[in-house]
Symmetry: C2
Subunit: 156 residues, 2 copies
């Protein structure tokens, strides 16, 4: 637990980093964001005073998010220790699922969402009607059906 001063535009963490920290914002403003394959930024969250900004990658996984400062800020930096309780660990795991879902909803096309869904829930895909999958993805059943048939045509 270390108090640090951060200058505007300073980058605290990059995607791919291991051992990401958690940042409690005392004053100023942080943000976390991803950069997609096309180089486009997608802001995951803003962190004004009183908020906590962190990547919910597990301890052993690389981060998905960049974190930087939009204003000069004072933040408390804390290690995401391995010593947290099992209850908390479960929460972190579920936060990560949500984090990925948000990023996906902000940036992915219908077919990309579908492929993400299949990899997240491999054994659910065959157990629910497709219109429910569409509802989960945030698209209409018709759009999902069309996207899937298009994928088949264009190889694979």
């Amino acid at each position: 637990m270390k108090k640090i001063n951060v200058k505007k535009k300073e980058i605290l963490q990059r995607a791919g980093d291991l051992r990401g920290k958690a940042y409690f914002v005392e004053s100023g403003l942080l943000r976390s964001y991803t950069i997609d394959e096309k180089g486009k930024e997608h802001i995951f969250m803003f962190g004004p005073e009183g908020w906590i900004v962190a990547d919910y990658a597990s301890l052993d996984e690389p981060c998905d998010l960049y974190i930087d400062a939009l204003e000069d800020s004072v933040v408390l930096q804390t290690e995401k220790d391995g010593e947290i309780e099992p209850d908390l660990k479960k929460f972190v795991k579920r936060m990560r699922v949500l984090q990925k879902r948000v990023i996906m909803l902000m940036s992915a096309s219908a077919i990309e969402r579908y492929e993400f869904f299949v990899s997240t829930y491999p054994n659910v895909t065959q157990r629910v009607p497709q219109h429910m999958v569409a509802s989960y993805l945030g698209v209409t059943p018709e759009a999902l059906s069309a996207a899937k048939s298009q994928r088949l045509k264009s190889g694979k």
Copy 2:
């Protein structure tokens, strides 16, 4: 902590309910979802074996989500006690923000997202450039600008 058998199509929880429970799925399949003003369902998550399904409303707030069973299931129902630690409480709060964000991204138009953002971050709106707000909302700066000017024309 109570083990219950749930029949397919049985509804475990409705939006508006107070004191929502958390459900650990031993076998079968649950889902949680919202219903928007137009009556359209938006599935928030599926809960196959091993997953936990719950609404992240605080204890004193009404739930946002319906929870029902897509297959005959066996679930452990646990009270979301007030006796959780402060650390966990913070997590629940942040889960709720994410939950609302996911629902919003699945169902809301650009201008609805903007209004949601302003109410979530009232004191951030004026501190960040609008193109960053757009990035947070998952729309382009141009689309946000157009949506806002359109709202002005059509009364307020």
